[in-house]
Symmetry: D2
Subunit: 130 residues, 4 copies
């Protein structure tokens, strides 16, 4: 490969996923298609594009347009993805995806796990005491 | 959430994916299950564990043990994943997954795309000349 | 470059830094040497090594051994880095660096900024009212 | 911290640095100020802004305006950073930073290291033969 081309490749952006999300997405009720859809949306947002159509999603996935529409609807319905109405400087309304609901759910689940962990711990402690 | 717990969460590792891979995995013949399996393997390797069983993979995915075995076999067969025999300091043999074949294929595809791009360009140029 | 070598390079790990930290480290009282020292420590921790000597740090920085010792001491003294005593399975004690204090400080600063932002906002609002 | 604020924080972008760069920047002749300047530029580029003034850089660093100007000049002079002239759709010229020279130098250094490694290897082999 030519060095200039390679340098261009190396200069590309990366998307980052917390290890926790990779290890626990099924506990959020997500399957692989839905997680990948969220990652594609994050990638679009990271590049300054906070909206993508089912067709744009379908171009990057093995799912067709209709299946992509269903995945997006399910993510919104299960409150892991938000479709917000925003207005630009000229007052023109547009729709934008936000992943904040996903992060909210992760925060809640991580919080809840702590609780369970302390419960388990106290049960184990009791087990040791008797 | 308690700040100490939150701090622990923030200190976690992230897995990084090049934008290119996210945008073009279908061109590598990968579906969403297979890409996610590769990301799980990368996550294990990043944590110093270069092997995982179909059961460990199944614990993190919506696929069962048998389906995970099939995904891993297909990835190896289509030369995107390698299962290498290694030996540790004491000479004990063990198996380790390597994602280098995936990177090799990406390099080839990126290279090939350049070629096509210049072809297209020269065709366009010809179109303009006549 | 040979493709196999390149593939190995591409398969390497990345360290990830939140944009916030990059934009606001000076507000945490950090200079560039100290932030880089923290990033080197994070890199060691990510690779499963939660301790590094001033010499190991000095090998990667433009600072000498003595200057690295000073940087590490200052980071601990200003509570952005912790040196904890841990014990392994065999009960042997060892020292380990932890970046949790850094994350705690970031959480506090982000929290505090929100407060200031709402103050500013209400002041602006008042300004508009009169 | 409020969960909504926290979720916003978690949704932020990360900048990614290859481990190699973190471990070997001194071999590229970079000191900590210069590496941090390059990371700030990468952060701006990642956010769609391929130019920043010495003042913008100075706002994020412990260096003043004049020192930032010197750092930027040195990076360009030592061919790790490029300042390119581009034109937008309306034909208006603007300047843009590019980190491709940095990646080119890394590619060369990684390549060269391989060479040295094989040299060392063949010397060791000779040592064993006689």
């Amino acid at each position: 490969m030519k060095k200039t081309k390679l340098a261009k490749w190396m200069a590309q952006k990366h998307i980052t996923i917390p290890e926790w999300l990779l290890a626990h997405y099924t506990e959020l009720g997500l399957n692989e298609y839905e997680l990948m859809a969220l990652l594609h949306i994050q990638s679009f947002i990271d590049q300054g594009d906070d909206f993508l159509t089912p067709t744009q999603l379908s171009d990057r996935m093995t799912l067709n347009h209709e299946e992509c529409t269903k995945v997006l609807s399910k993510l919104i319905r299960s409150q892991l993805l938000a479709l917000e109405k925003k207005s630009d400087e000229s007052g023109i309304l547009y729709e934008a995806y936000s992943l904040e609901p996903l992060w909210m759910r992760i925060i809640e689940l991580v919080d809840q796990k702590e609780y369970t962990a302390s419960q388990v711990e106290s049960v184990e402690l009791e087990g040791k005491l008797y």
